[in-house]
Symmetry: C2
Subunit: 145 residues, 2 copies
């Protein structure tokens, strides 16, 4: 498996172990992970720390040039917020673990010039399926339903 | 003036007084402000705390029903990230102080069913114009340029 997607899955598992929603993300520049994070809605009582947001926040204040050469990995299809953040910073590539349990505005993001790669990874699907079955209310809250 | 836009301007001024980028935001439900915030890129070394994000984070974990009855105020046209966050939560109305110094994806947000109101307030414009002239590098960083 792609080691960067594997790292995002490890982040998702770390979140699950903390009692959180199992979605993980890493930001990659060249062959290095420069940011990593996971959903912290539960852990921090946060309305904005989806995995990708936590990852980008942990990466710190980067130059526009760095963002424009980076790739964002997420175990799950990025929602409107996280997709918008990738657009704000001009991140050119997003690798998505799966979009079976949730699908963000992929068409729109593509129309803005971002290259999306869908892996359709069974581990990512299984993590979400089990979590959604066990905690539907928490999941709905996370996607504004 | 609309007291809620006034409150957002007060947030912008508070940010400026802290050495930050002067953009403020409030979230309004009924006739009450339920969240307020301002850009904290400088103050917290944050890549994600635009004014609207700080406001929504400070509002805490709300129900979908609350978001769907609320109005988001911002002194400046919301960027891709902040617009996406409003879309995620189904916030139906956004009141924008000004869009002369920066314009987010207003057409797209409207196409998703959000009602945008542009006030074109001279105080909001002046706050940004002066800041951008004094700190162009910080402003460019904030919008991913």
């Amino acid at each position: 498996m792609d080691p960067f997607l594997q790292a995002a899955i490890e982040e998702a598992r770390a979140g699950l172990a903390e009692g959180g929603i199992p979605i993980g993300s890493v930001l990659v520049l060249g062959d290095k992970i420069i940011g990593r994070g996971h959903n912290r809605r539960v852990q921090k009582g946060s309305a904005i720390l989806h995995a990708e947001m936590d990852c980008l926040e942990n990466a710190g204040r980067l130059t526009a040039n760095d963002y424009r050469q980076s790739t964002l990995y997420s175990t799950l299809s990025p929602c409107d917020m996280c997709s918008g953040t990738a657009l704000l910073y001009g991140i050119p590539r997003i690798v998505i673990g799966e979009n079976r349990t949730f699908q963000g505005p992929e068409e729109y993001v593509r129309s803005r010039g971002v290259e999306l790669t869908l892996v359709d990874d069974p581990t990512c699907v299984e993590l979400m399926k089990q979590f959604i079955a066990a905690h539907p209310e928490l999941w709905n809250e996370d996607i504004g339903k």
